[in-house]
Amino acid sequence: MPELYLRMLDRVLTPVLLVLSIFLLLRGHNLPGGGFIAGLMTAAAFELQILSRGEASVRRDVGRYLNRALGLGLLIAVGSGVVGLSRGAFMAGVWVELSLGPLGELKLGTPVLFDIGVYLVVVSVATSYLLTLNRLAEEASRRNAPQ
């Protein structure tokens, strides 16, 4: 059974980690960050969940989305490259500027899309590693427990 403090920590830290990962994902275009780091950060949040709630419950909640998220991420990443063909070359950056009135300008482009694809791939791959590793660890500890 997980420790009480771990469950408390989980309540506080998981939302923080998830928000931070989104922040890193969007920041990544010009500053340190990006899809890969953000994906690992999200996977870290899931690992915290696994440690505090057990592998089975996390697998029940996110496990079945992982395969599809992996596929979706790859599709988005390749798709963002195809959009670049409109500017003459695969993966060329295409940018759209949206004016949000008082909030200022929002520049959106295919590199962000590519990053989101990378993010999805990294999250799903890293989380499935973590789920499998934790299952093995939990099985081992269960086997050793009764003695």
């Binding site: 596929g71 798709g79 063909l85 070359a89 993966m91 060329a92």
Partner: protein, 528 residues
């Protein structure tokens, strides 16, 4: 000018990846019901891949052009350069042929459990990695694609989780990772000394660099790529792993993987170190000769069908490598004759080897065992398979009118012309041993009393839909081999165009056109 734009060059990489990702969505529920869609989409993607590869070949070999795509409009060496010339085109086409031929065979011979474990998406990812390695214009992306294909092949090797598979998978991945580390070290040396990983720019700067840099880089790349190609002192991973996975996986690996290593050796040595092809010729010839004979000798001692065939792969890698060793020897033959001969042999090998492993795998599945001592007598029950196996076998051994003959003849001509009679002798001994081996295979499996020692989960020649998917690709490879043998002169002309293009370093550098604003080597900031 036709409608060919360099952007087409991303198709062989992007299309298999895209389709592979798409297949992940199909059949999460009710897998059995949606299996046909996975198979159809995979076939369509591989057909399109082959079509684009053929278009690239027509544009490069037919027109004598090179195509370079600077991905994302970032000039070399800042961005990723994708380069296609005749050599790349040949590899793409042959890779496409092998991938398309093995795909229906895989449908017919795999068991349901393995199909469910994501076989088809991984198959496409492997094809993407192989194509990417052929197209990469810089060392780092080459490394990345090597890793992509290593990971995909590792999972394909172990999918199904038999203990023998896992055991061989561990050998495979450890030895291949070792080769990758050596390759990565080479990339590190290149970046540290030359300040670039773009191959065109490396070629420019190597001319100015210290000779020791060239020696070190060439040595590291020889060991790294040589291990991927299964040259003899570095071949251990291949025979331990190729006989354990399902036959379709062995056929795919046997047709594709070592050839990526051969391609990278051809590319790196002709582009980066053409002088070393002359200076190191004794070393390269020795490696090639030893590989030819050792592979064929090793095959003699093997007890099962696919083990014999895996050792033959090694022997044939030696034949292709010998073409590189005499690539720049110009005596009285046309320039690039040696390399063209090696390319022709490579094309022949990719076709025939794939077909032969598919045939051998079908025998194995039919008999429930590949152990030569305990099987026999299949000829009367499966005459068509016996015929196709026999035709592939004599093509492999080099008997006219099949492609093996013209491939070996032109290679031996090139070597003799350069005056290396002992390599010719080694080649002839290896050919003789191959003939003995391959006849042993055929005789043991098809002649004699009918003996069927075991049962496999799938008997591909029982059901009609499986039978066509096994025999049609097999017949296709035999016909291709026959066509290549009969139209050998024309094919050799194409290979010569490709070989001359490959040996033309200046043209390659001009086509990639690495940005000149980077200071040349002697202006780089020197460390104190």
């Amino acid at each position: 000018m036709s409608g060919f734009s360099p952007n087409w060059l991303v198709v062989p990489v992007a299309l298999p990846l895209f389709t592979g990702a798409l297949l992940l969505f199909i059949g999460r529920w009710g897998f059995r019901r949606w299996l046909w869609l996975q198979r159809t989409l995979g076939t369509v993607a591989l057909t399109l891949n082959l079509a684009v590869a053929l278009a690239v070949a027509v544009e490069t070999i037919g027109q004598g052009r090179r195509y370079v795509l600077q991905v994302g409009l970032w000039d070399a060496p800042f961005g990723i350069s994708v380069v296609a010339d005749g050599l790349t085109a040949i590899m793409l086409v042959m890779g496409g042929v092998v991938a398309l031929a093995v795909f229906p065979y895989a449908m017919a011979t795999l068991d349901y459990h393995r199909e469910r474990m994501g076989f088809y998406p991984l198959y496409l990812v492997l094809v993407m990695g192989v194509n990417g390695a052929f197209l990469a214009g810089d060392l780092f992306n080459l490394y990345v694609f090597f890793e992509v294909l290593l990971m995909a092949s590792f999972v394909l090797l172990t999918v199904g989780g038999q203990p023998a598979q896992t055991n061989s998978g561990i050998h495979y991945v450890v030895l291949n990772l070792l080769a990758s580390i050596i390759f990565l070290a080479a990339a590190g040396v290149a970046y540290g000394t030359l300040g670039t990983l773009n191959m065109a720019q490396m070629a420019q700067r190597l001319d100015m660099a210290d000779p020791s840099v060239r020696t070190l880089l060439a040595g590291l790349l020889l060991v790294g790529f040589g291990s991927k190609a299964a040259l003899v002192p570095f071949h251990f991973w291949l025979p331990t792993s190729y006989h354990t996975p399902p036959p379709a996986v062995t056929a795919l690996f046997g047709g594709l993987l070592t050839k990526v290593g051969i391609y990278t050796l051809f590319r790196s040595y002709t582009l980066l170190f053409p002088e070393l092809l002359v200076a190191w010729q004794p070393l390269l010839l020795t490696l090639a000769g030893v590989t030819m004979v050792a592979g064929a000798l090793g095959a003699l001692a093997q007890p099962t069908i696919r083990r014999v065939l895996s050792f033959h792969i090694i022997s044939h890698v030696g034949f292709m490598f010998v073409g590189l060793a005499v690539a720049v020897d110009i005596y009285r033959l046309a320039p690039g004759f040696g390399l063209a001969a090696a390319l022709l042999y490579l094309v022949h090998h990719m076709i025939v080897k794939t077909g032969l492993i598919m045939a051998g795998g079908a025998v194995e599945l039919e008999m429930g065992s590949g152990r030569l001592a305990s099987i026999g007598g299949l000829a009367a029950r499966r005459p068509l398979l016996a015929t196709l196996f026999f035709l592939s076998a004599i093509s492999l051994a080099g008997i006219p009118p099949f492609s093996g003959f013209i491939g070996k003849l032109s290679l031996l001509q090139a070597i003799l012309d350069a005056g290396h009679w002992w390599v010719v002798a080694a080649g002839l001994v290896a050919s003789l041993l191959t003939l003995i081996n391959i006849m042993r295979l055929w005789q043991q499996s098809f002649w004699g009393r009918y003996r069927r020692p075991g049962r496999s989960r799938v008997r591909p020649l029982e059901e009609p839909w499986r039978r066509t998917r096994v025999l049609a690709p097999l017949a296709g490879t035999v016909l291709l081999s026959l066509a290549l043998g009969l139209g050998g002169e024309r094919a050799f002309g194409w290979m010569q165009v490709a070989a001359q293009q490959t040996l033309d370093r200046e043209g390659y550098i001009r086509a990639v056109a690495p940005h000149p604003t980077i200071p040349p080597l002697d202006k780089l900031p020197q460390k104190e």
